[in-house]
Symmetry: C2
Subunit: 336 residues, 2 copies
């Protein structure tokens, strides 16, 4: 029942050779005679020999492991990113250590230290909403551990970054709404200090500007959940100058807007257009289905890990890269 893992020494003893011979034979070193090599391979196969990664790790001071920090695991976009990372990492033979910061700076610091202790070969991370200090990341760099940031990137230190093209995604969504007849589009944003809020806001503003549509502050709301949207939208719809379009920072919020519009009897998309951001499961399940900006989280993940592996294996000291993953507008039923 309980067969403990067999080691090189075991093989050596059984076959009456030295451990070094076994080691060499196992990696097909041509120094070893055909005969010996085959015998060793055969024995290893039959006894299900597996090299002890722990020993290898110690020898090489490398763990073949990549640390991944996720602000929140239960989140469509982040799941996609993680999935992209996992797939590529697995193919390349790396294991991934996953930890979530829960948007807390303190937690993030702890995770980084645990990654340091585990001697990860590299780290992929997205900042917690909380984080505004970067010493812990600098510590990684000081230990020669490369970092790639995604989505919530860090401009405070010198590393690689992968972001979604929020600006362009936002611009083209708003432009599309304008082109299909919207004249008064509101923007529901997340916390204003976040990069994504700024970039999407700029895309919105620039699209409006391009078509010479006036915007004032009352048209931009801090609202990034379904509940909030349901709370604030009815009032907005009662105004004389009610909006004929809404651009929301995520699908959740857009679904809340949609709900509110239908509740007061407005026809979507005939009387009001709505556009979200993410293209998660929600977007397919509203009625009508949501027009939204697709974020390609999986590609973000794929890019981060590709860049990281490059860094790890080539150890190139090229200057840092900013990679931008394109977004694209998925037109469904909530816009004309």
């Amino acid at each position: 029942m309980n067969k403990p893992q067999i080691t090189i020494k075991d093989i050596a003893r059984e076959l009456g050779v030295s451990p070094s011979t076994v080691s060499r034979a196992l990696k097909d070193n041509p120094d070893i005679s055909q005969e010996t090599r085959e015998a060793i391979h055969k024995y290893a196969r039959e006894h299900n020999y597996k090299p002890n990664a722990l020993a290898l790790n110690l020898r090489t001071s490398r763990s073949n492991t990549i640390g991944v920090i996720i602000p929140q695991l239960v989140h469509h976009f982040f799941s996609c990113v993680l999935s992209g990372i996992e797939e590529t990492a697995a193919k390349a033979g790396y294991n991934i250590l996953v930890a979530q910061s829960n948007e807390k700076y303190e937690q993030e610091v702890k995770i980084v230290h645990s990654f340091l202790a585990a001697r990860v070969c590299g780290v992929i991370t997205s900042l917690a909403k909380d984080t505004s200090q970067y010493d812990h990341y600098q510590e990684l760099l000081d230990n020669n551990i490369p970092i790639v940031f995604y989505d919530r990137i860090c401009t405070g230190i010198n590393t690689e970054r992968v972001v979604v093209d929020d600006y362009a995604g936002s611009f083209s969504a708003v432009e599309y709404m304008i082109q299909t007849g919207c004249k008064r589009i509101f923007f529901y944003s997340a916390a204003p200090h976040l990069e994504i809020s700024k970039n999407r806001r700029n895309g919105y503003l620039d699209a409006m500007k391009k078509y010479k549509i006036p915007v004032n502050e009352s048209m931009i709301k801090f609202c990034d959940t379904r509940e909030q949207a349901i709370a604030i939208t009815p009032d907005i719809l009662e105004r004389d100058d009610r909006p004929d379009g809404f651009f929301a920072i995520n699908d959740e919020t857009a679904s809340g807007i949609l709900y509110s519009c239908k509740l007061v009897g407005l026809k979507v998309p005939d009387e009001v257009s709505i556009c979200g951001f993410t293209d998660g499961a929600i977007a397919q399940s509203t009625d009508p289905k949501l027009t939204t900006v697709e974020q390609h989280g999986k590609e973000v993940g794929k890019s981060t890990i590709d860049i990281l592996i490059d860094k790890i294996e080539e150890n190139t000291n090229t200057r840092s890269v900013n990679k931008i993953i394109r977004t694209n507008l998925v037109v469904r039923g909530t816009t004309k």
Copy 2:
């Protein structure tokens, strides 16, 4: 800039003591004199000494790491489970290695082997839809690595299991539909060989039986995605004996049913009731919102890791545990 990690030997050399003294001092062994101990601690602190986990791992043949297999990362329920696992594991000082099987048996086998190579202390897993052989898991057990299965459990080998109370969830959902007037309820199931399919089917059957409602095989369909639901439901709705209720294996499928019903002009819930399973983001965003069975994924995760850590640390050879996490019905707009 580049300060390499300092080792016990470094400290020993600098302080003119032996490595063993340093080792002992660092773990506050009372044998070491107050004075020496403090000096060593001080030096270690100042030079940011961190024990090399890789060396510890080799020494103890334990990696302090738990391997987690997830069928699909981009999936509400599984994200919740992973999140629960991560939180508890982090608190207990374990790192988690995450890998997704993508529902493929072959991938699952590869992952298990990579976990074996990484010398994980334990494994948490849910079977791929594909998997019907368990040798790879047996191999883990043979190496004394405990396993806890969650959700898609394996009854083929002797391990711990954590499941949601599919039977009761299913039973009470169907009972509720019956009590609110449904007389002819269809069940859309996942692959019949999966435990979850069997259990939910039994819940459905027993509820129907309790109220003496006849069921025949034509009322049970293998359909577990939105697309499939949209493909098969219209035909079903055209029958003379069309259903007045649908119980679906997940929210996605339920949202497809809802879509189809609305498309042919049936009123939900007046003419047709629909109930899903999961209570993810989708359930809140359909119109009307979905009645569904809440699964408590996070609790599932928490339980798996609790049980696993018990196994690892106590190494109790107690017989295996089946833990059942309660579900509860969330009544929203798609049922009366």
